[in-house]
């Protein structure tokens, strides 16, 4: 049975700096980790300290995906051309290359997260709560040890609307955690 846990930050508490923890979520054997409390920020920051899945054989579908919701997390946008993303991968073997899609149903943003091969990463998300702007992401991963490559890149959800929930998911069962922060502007 999938297990999960949440830990909430000090929204509305003492001013401990402008990088403000909203929530930390962990999961073991889960298909998705969602955040439906985004606070009120123009810029969000997410850390993924470690994440692996139960996939074997390095399938493409073991890369981490992201979707957005405009209805508080009841549904997540998944149209075939709702998102665009572009990543540069850099490999220890000396190669590097482009991984991109200009019309996709999600934002793909990490190397393959195979069983026993965890990946760590951070991501910035921009304009989620702004109904007049696209929602953008920039991200950077650590090296995936088995594949010997890391990613950095960007994504966009190409509808200007308020996003009030986000979903990190994988086609395989995930074990790991995310922490969501807001960056306050005053």
């Amino acid at each position: 049975m999938p297990l999960g846990a949440s830990r909430f930050g000090l929204l509305g508490g003492a001013d401990l700096g402008k990088l403000q923890l909203i929530e930390t979520k962990t999961g073991s054997g889960v298909s998705a980790i969602e955040f439906a409390n985004l606070g009120n920020y123009n810029v969000h920051f997410v850390t993924m300290p470690t994440m692996e899945t139960n996939s074997t054989g390095h399938p493409q579908a073991s890369k981490m995906q992201l979707r957005f919701s405009n209805d508080g997390g009841s549904t997540f946008e998944s149209g075939a051309s709702d998102y665009q993303w572009a990543n540069q991968y850099v490999a220890v073997g000396g190669g590097n290359g482009e991984s991109k899609d200009s019309a996709d149903s999600s934002i793909e943003w990490t190397p393959r997260c195979n069983n026993g091969e965890p990946t760590s990463a951070y991501m910035y998300l921009y304009n989620l709560k702004d109904s007049a702007k696209y929602s953008f992401t920039t991200s950077h991963t650590t090296i995936n040890v088995d594949q010997g490559e890391f990613f950095f890149g960007s994504g966009v959800y190409t509808t200007a609307e308020t996003i009030n929930a986000i979903r990190f998911y994988n086609d395989y069962s995930m074990t790991g955690s995310f922490s969501l922060y807001g960056i306050a502007e005053s």
Partner: protein
């Protein structure tokens, strides 16, 4: 006063402007700064950024800027843009017709014994296609830098918002 990890220093904004200066945002209290830039413009291009020294002078000559950028395009080949001994930073962020967002870090700007280093990540939409950006730069003069000037290319900013934080 905030005493946490990321401390807000200053913000500046403009609408229908060709340039925005954010002055007195770098000081002796921090070595590392996070700069958040959000803008919209009538045309697509690199942002042009110059540093401001403690005399209030915008450094726009003297072959002191090096930079290198990677452009990550969702609908085409990736590109690069680089220069050495230039008169400004180009590509620490973009201007774009459907918005651009940038997180940049500046290192040691206020240290008169050090060059000022920069790195950034950006995201924008260029005529329906995503353009991500990753850049590095260095201002090769050991000056006391206290601010930035951000300039448009070919078209005024519809709006531009900049926030600066000190990193503890």
């Amino acid at each position: 006063m905030a005493v946490g990890n990321l401390e807000f220093i200053k913000s500046a904004s403009g609408t229908s402007v060709s340039s925005l200066q954010i002055t007195d945002c770098f000081n002796a209290n921090y070595d590392v700064y996070k700069v958040v830039i959000d803008n919209d413009n009538g045309s697509n291009n690199d942002l042009h950024i110059r540093v401001i020294n403690d005399s209030g002078t915008v450094i726009s000559s003297g072959s002191k800027y090096d930079y290198a950028n990677l452009e990550l395009n969702s609908g085409g080949s990736f590109g690069s843009n680089k220069n050495t001994g230039f008169n400004e930073f180009r590509g620490i962020g973009y201007q774009a017709t459907t918005g651009n967002v940038t997180i940049a870090y500046f290192y040691n700007p206020h240290n008169s014994s050090s060059y000022t280093f920069a790195m950034s990540q950006s995201s924008s939409v260029y005529t329906t296609q995503l353009r991500g950006g990753k850049s590095i730069g260095v201002y090769k003069n050991a000056d006391t830098i206290t601010g930035l000037e951000i300039n448009e290319v070919n078209s005024d900013f519809t709006y531009i918002n900049v926030s600066v934080y000190g990193v503890k």
